[in-house]
């Protein structure tokens, strides 16, 4: 596709983010609403890059306590251990649960990092108005959108174990402070992914700039 591909925003047409209805909107005029569902119309998600950056930076910061602090405390009559996310994975691997170790590693370590690095890459490339391989970058965005939710895995595991294993001195499992930080990372990166507007990847192919 060449630079003169028909772009909705360039022709004053705007697709509703709720119902996808395409309607005409004069640029520069005030608030406009979708004639079908009443949602506010925007050519592009407003403040997309700034909001996405804010959420990504907050996630980077929270990612540190999520990995340094204790995720889960396990105690029984003979043993007592405090596990961070990574040491939990290592422990699973050493005790022979390789499959589970791999699954937890992917969900708790690989996916959050993939999300953060991918969003950073997308944000920088959009800000530099890069025209490099937009199709691949859109694919990357789609991947981030699809796999993001799976990081919640560890939160569910900790919840179930901490609730179930409450047998006094026999055995107890407690959720650690890292669970809170990690939960926040998951939620913030999901919001960041929603705020990012993939259409911005394609806009540098046009001469005009579109806002709001």
């Amino acid at each position: 596709m060449t630079a003169d591909a028909p772009i909705a925003a360039a022709r004053g047409l705007c697709s509703c983010h709720v119902c996808q209805l395409v309607s005409r909107r004069t640029r520069g005029t005030g608030k406009a609403h979708c004639p079908r569902c009443g949602a506010r119309l925007h050519f592009r998600k407003p403040g997309s890059v700034q909001r996405c950056w804010a959420l990504v930076i907050a996630s980077y910061i929270l990612y540190i306590p999520a990995n340094v602090l204790v995720m889960m405390e396990t105690g029984s009559l003979i043993t007592y251990r405090k596990d961070t996310i990574v040491s939990g994975v290592v422990h699973l691997w050493k005790t022979g649960s390789w499959m589970i170790a791999v699954i937890v590693f992917i969900a708790s370590v690989a996916i959050p990092l993939l999300k953060l690095f991918s969003l950073t890459l997308l944000l920088i490339s959009v800000q530099r108005r890069s025209t490099w391989n937009p199709r691949q970058r859109t694919r990357l965005y789609r991947l981030v959108e699809a796999v993001g939710r799976w990081s919640m895995l560890d939160i569910y595991v900790v919840t179930l174990l901490a609730a179930l294993v409450q047998l006094g001195t026999m055995a107890t499992v407690k959720a650690g402070p890292a669970a809170v930080a990690f939960g926040a990372v998951v939620v913030l990166t999901m919001f960041a992914t929603m705020e990012f507007d993939p259409r911005l990847i394609w806009d540098p192919l046009q001469k005009e700039e579109f806002h709001d």
Binding site: A8, L13, L21, D154, A162, A175, P198, R199, I201
Partner: protein
């Protein structure tokens, strides 16, 4: 002009303007520029979505009423349902985690099931549900936050972790969650928002002649 722009589609991922075409059942249209899926024509979309949703709603109740699993140590037995797990975390001063689990594993899927039923059941009976745009918006907003399939994987991982130290007895809810995951996936695959908007609008126009 309204008719003309109704046939237009702007790709939600690259804003390429295109005209829609009639699709054969089971096919989908993708954007020629970025490859995004624009819309699908799932077979019997509305009927199947409604059927899967009603089935899922029943299984959902089972998944929340029965215990997921129980453990046994020297005669001591401990069992939990999902909501008990949420409450237990709340009592352990892990309120944000408790709230997050409640929202993503219970409230969001419940809202999703209720909204789909609220929209599609009257439509099936030839009526238009009042303020349907609001419910379509709720549905679109809530969709990324329902994480039953992730919870299912979490349940399995916990199960394996527990079997290292305890005798674990799987509960009814474990099977319910497995079935629920499949039903929700089936409902999501047959759901076609574009088609449902069109049907709702058509009915609305019939009811309110201008």
């Amino acid at each position: 002009m309204a008719d003309r722009s109704a046939q237009l589609i702007a790709c939600h991922e690259c804003d390429l303007l295109q005209r829609d075409i009639q699709l054969n059942p089971g096919c989908y249209a993708s954007c020629p520029r970025c490859g995004a899926v624009l819309y699908r024509n799932a077979t019997d979309s509305a009927d199947r979505t409604l059927a899967y949703t009603l089935a899922a709603a029943m299984v959902f109740i089972g998944a929340n009423v029965f215990p997921i699993f129980s453990i046994e140590v020297q005669g001591d037995r401990s069992a939990i349902t999902l909501f008990e797990a949420v409450l237990s975390l709340w009592d352990q001063e892990m309120r944000s985690i408790s709230l997050l689990v409640f929202l993503t594993a219970m409230l969001a899927p419940a809202l999703e099931l209720v909204s789909i039923t609220y929209l599609l059941l009257p439509l099936k009976l030839g009526k238009v549900p009042p303020s349907y745009p609001l419910f379509m918006r709720i549905l679109q907003f809530i969709e990324p936050w329902g994480m039953v399939e992730v919870l299912m994987l979490g349940v399995l991982v916990s199960l394996v972790k527990l079997t290292n130290n305890f005798r674990v007895i799987p509960g009814m809810a474990l099977w319910s969650f497995a079935v629920l995951t499949l039903l929700l996936a089936a409902a999501a695959a047959s759901f076609n928002a574009r088609d449902i908007w069109a049907q709702l609008d058509a009915r609305w126009k019939e009811q309110v002649p201008r």
